[in-house]
Amino acid sequence: MMLYLAVAIFIIVMIVVAFELVDKAIAALSGAVIFVIIGVLPHEKAIKSVDFETILLLMGMMMLVEASKRSGIFSWLNVRVAKITRGNPFLLLVLFLGVTALLSAFLDNVTTVLLIVPVTLALTKGMGLKPAIYVIAEVIFSNIGGSLTLIGDPPNILIGSASGLSFNDFILNLIIPISIVSVAVLTMIAVVHWKEIKPVHADLEKLFVSNLLIRKINYQFLNTNLDKVFIIKTLVILGLVFIGFMTHSLTHLSVDIIAVFFALVFLIIGRKNLSIHHILKEVEWTTLLFFAGLFVMVGGLKEVGFLELISSFILSLTDNFSLILLIILWVSALVSSFLDNIPFVAVMIPVIVNLQTSFSGNPHLDLLWWSLSLGACLGGNGTIIGASANVVAVDLARKEGVNISFLDFMKVGFPVLIISMIICSLYLLVRSDFF
């Protein structure tokens, strides 16, 4: 009885989140509190089920990103890239996608989109190009880039925290499929939309407008005196965070402690330019509370045995390890293209742990995590509602008079999803069968 009740409450909460009937934090916390009130899990277990490592890591990264943004370094980078393109639409696409993927590997995808899309819209609109394809491609690459690292996308943060896999493990295991997916997706977009992105070097008027626009954007986005000392401090802190993440398996410091420690150091050494109140104001507390509520609900589902049922169901389908990898990959991708991937991954983590127990002795158990990570992160590319970054980018575009419909996005996003999943499937199969 308790099992059915818990699952029903969880499904109701997910529906409320999916249709944004109330704020997702309120929905998840309400579900968590109801779980405790009706006795799905006791209060102590509810508190213990909250993964504070994930919440601290997210908070630390949000603080670091917000503080770094204030140095103007990201705007500077965007404008530099725009200048390098000299108004060449193809180069503009390639370089901006590269920057998007790189930034989103280390920043969260929504922040990346907020930094890149306004510059892209200003440039493409002014140049008379069709901005929609640029915006969609950037969103897609923010999801692809975010898949590469432990801190790039919330599902990876959850997976990293639950599995104990290091920052380097993520990069080493995901760099091959992500690189191949990037090249394939870029090629596909370039070939299909060549008419809209082909170079304009033979058209003096278009070249002139592009170069003039780049100057305008340079002024518009860098219309503040960049504080060199603050920029140096920002670069040093970001460098140290990166080194800290790369070496955390050697130093035995967890990534959340590294992020929070350097966020605090940044606030101390950058106190002339940074205010703790302003930085904390920009931390997405509702997201963190959503995570807390979600962890309690997943703890409840585990307590009533629902997650073991899912594991048993998957095992009942097949006992072929490679086939299970593909099932996890494709199901994660399809679910994530329509629903929030965070609750899905939160539910799947205990399932993966159960599957690892069932396949103990198999040398490729980690591949279960990679199939979940690749499916959940890249699945967000399928539709406009597949990831928060998609929704934010489309909203930014709409404000600038560029309408991207559900179908417009899906026409590009869904083929990208299929190609990505085929590449990832091949990668997982090769690794499970040959390495």
Binding site: G87, A202, L204, E205, L207, F208, V209, R215, K216
Partner: protein
Amino acid sequence: MSGRLSELFRNIEAEQDVHELTKYCLESLRESVNVYSGTNLVRDFKKLVKSVYETEPKMSLIIDQFNGIMDYLYDNCRQCFTNKNNDECSVRKHICDSIDSFIIANEKKENELCNHGKKVVLDGDVILIHSYSRSVMRVLCDAYDEGVKFQVIVAEQEFDKTLSILRLLQKKGIFVKVVPEYMLSHIENDVTKVFMGVVTLNSQMLFVAAAGTSAIVSEFRLNNVPIYVFMSMGKMSLWKSHKGHDTHKVKHKKINELYNIEYERIKFSHDRVPLNYVNFIVTEEGIFNPKEIEKIYWSKYKIREGWNSQHQWNTYK
């Protein structure tokens, strides 16, 4: 293309000023010419000059300089206008050389304008300024550097524009007060001079200036406060202008959700200010009164008319 260029010119001019816009245009042209890979640079440059000419409002400084580059090309590389297989490298070099000489000349003219301008800033002056004008800013900064003791009142308009003036003047250490532009009547007795920059002076003897300028000029004119316009001679629009072509109207639907009120909000890109409403016009050639400037305008206009019929490459005919 001219529509897109018009919008871009208007936006850049509103954010900065027409001098900076002209500099941007020249630099952008040089960069574009350097990467151009088409088959006929002269033909495409002529097309661009025509598009620039068709922009609204007409930025005469830019139009004149683009025409000047064409002149230079025609004088130094006449065969490229007739020969289809002309040497693109040579055309490119001539255009770039001409751009460089214009940039240097513009800088020189601006220095001369500032030298004339700073003579009108006196100890004890309280100077009212409005929109951002590079010439006005330079005059104030130069006068301050020379030890003139004066105050500046900024008529507050859109926050970003006022902020850019404040940042520059405060960085320099010049004492600044800000008064909202609809409350200027309270300080009209304190102000000793009004300084303003303009986009152009057209054939109807109207200055095209930042929105809000007309009301300020009218108000201070009534109180006999001298009004100075800082304008290089190149900003004169030496062609027949048509009423309404030099301002751009933007309509927005505004909704106040709290009180459920929906209304149309109209904003204008520029104001038109009659030449005879101002007292002095400071240029690189000296300081003139409106009558003198009108004479200069028409003499330049006649020269331009002759020039239009002389040049075979002219595409406006």
